[in-house]
Amino acid sequence: MKRRNAIHQAIYVILLSLGGLATIFPFIYMISTSLKGPVYVFELPPRLIPSNPTLQNFVSAWTSNNFGRYFLNSLGVTVVTTLLVVWLGSMMAFALARFEFALKKPLYYLVMFFMMMPAMSLIVPQFILAARLKQVDTLSGLVLLYVAQNIPLATFLLRGFLEQVPREIEEAALIDGASAWDVYWRILLPLSKPALATAAIFASLGAWDEYVWAFTIINTPEKRTLPVGIAAFHGVHLSDWGLVFAASLIAVVPVMVLFIALQKYFIKGMTAGALKG
């Protein structure tokens, strides 16, 4: 029996490793290509381990091709978006989880509706609006839309969390004369750290990776974010794959590090809604 189990386990590991190899292989090849000079990008046979590895692509992406600038743009937009989303979303979640009022249900359905709504389907009127508000070709124009797009999910996640926090603590505080703001700011927010982390992760991933809106409203090269900068660079230098992937790794590595470090919040956020059926 024990031997049979060991054989089963070995089969599982082999199957999972084969699948894992297919999953990870494109990344390995991307890293390898980013370390190759231009002449080696289409060598035959293609090599996984570069023959003359160089960091030149990373250096020139960061310095002469503006990716340092794009990185800072992306970082700024992501940080501001995330703070606003978590703050505004947690206030909405607090109202929806802790109060009874006439518009509670319709407003909650509105939030749910925009979680399902295809984000890109409103891009035409949003672009017209951005033009009217003088937000075209500005980073604030990115933040404004990203905040609106990411609030529904944050509200949903945080409301689900707050619903399960027992009310005894805040009731005691209310009897002691605390205001609703005190309850929100001093009691519930500190208790909600794991849920806030989950909401923040999804909001920042949404802002960091967003491409279509940024591609649509940003014209000035200096205002590009990383995804737009990478796609634009590829559009001009079609075969300079080494540099494209060096720039891509600059964009992807922070996300992967964050994901690996904060995995448990990622997984919680993904499965929270899906499973408590």
Binding site: H8, Q9, Y12, V13, L15, L16, G20, T23, P26, F27, Y29, F42, E43, L44, P45, P46, L88, M91, M92, A95, R98, F99, F101, L107, V111, M115, M116, M117, P118, A119, M120, L122, I123, V124, P125, I128, L129, L144, V147, A148, Q149, I151, L153, L157, D209, Y211, V212, T216, A231, H234, F245, S248, A251, V255, M256, I260, I267, M270, A274, G277
Partner: protein, 298 residues
Amino acid sequence: MQTAQLRKRLTPYLFLLPGMAFLMVWLVYPMGHAFFISLRDWNPVPGQPSPFVGLSHYGQAFGDATFRLALKNTALYVAITVLGQLILGVGVALLLDRLLRGRVFFRTLYYLPVVTSWVVVSLLFKYLFNSSPAGMINYLLVDVSHLLAQPVAWLNEPGTAFIALYSLGIWKGVGWTMVIILAALQSLPEDCFQAAAIDGASGLQSLFYITLPLLLPTIVLVLIMLTIGGFQTYIPIALVTGGGPLHRTEVLLTYMYDQAFSDLNYGYASAQAYILAAIVFVISQAQLRLHRPVDILA
């Protein structure tokens, strides 16, 4: 006392106000405006008249061969990638559930494509499916495995271009399905399996008669979420084929975007956007009927 009462009743609205303001300005108002635009031959120049054309843009979509092709391409993309992600995702989750050691390692590995930007993975697949003999996929199929005699110009023909796009869609999404299914597997009641084992059920029997039926609600949920996501695919097509050659790989959103921002047909593009939103809305309603609402993720 009265002011205190009023304050109390206003409190939830005050907490909702700033967030709702963002939703109203950037989502609710544009949704109404999109419908208004879709009924007109919209002139993008401010101040110029935009003649009212009724529902004719909606009619135009169904007479437009490219739109119909985009709809067909999207439906096929959804069918193939959803099925692929589901089968592989459930398979990997079942294996991981039985694995005694290394579960977190493999879960992380399979999840990496999910957290990687669509722009980056789209360019990566464009490179892998390069038409030269030194393109990685050509090399693996021709020189390594001898499955093909000649290198293929993958992205020059719609048929082969979609093979690249389907592989990308499946590769990127398996991890998401796996995580949801794995969490569901780990919350299944142990006693069912113990009872079945005592009654002498084999592994396969308990898989088909206990595990899969118990998983069914989660599988249906994942199926619907993936379908909704699939209908919204844009970046991989825009970056890998650009909808070409000759609009043959266009999907709903690439065609809509082109109509809007290349041809400046805002009215027609808005009608197309409404058709897509209606499709997604119907699917998500099906989900609400079947299951409690869930979050949509990365």
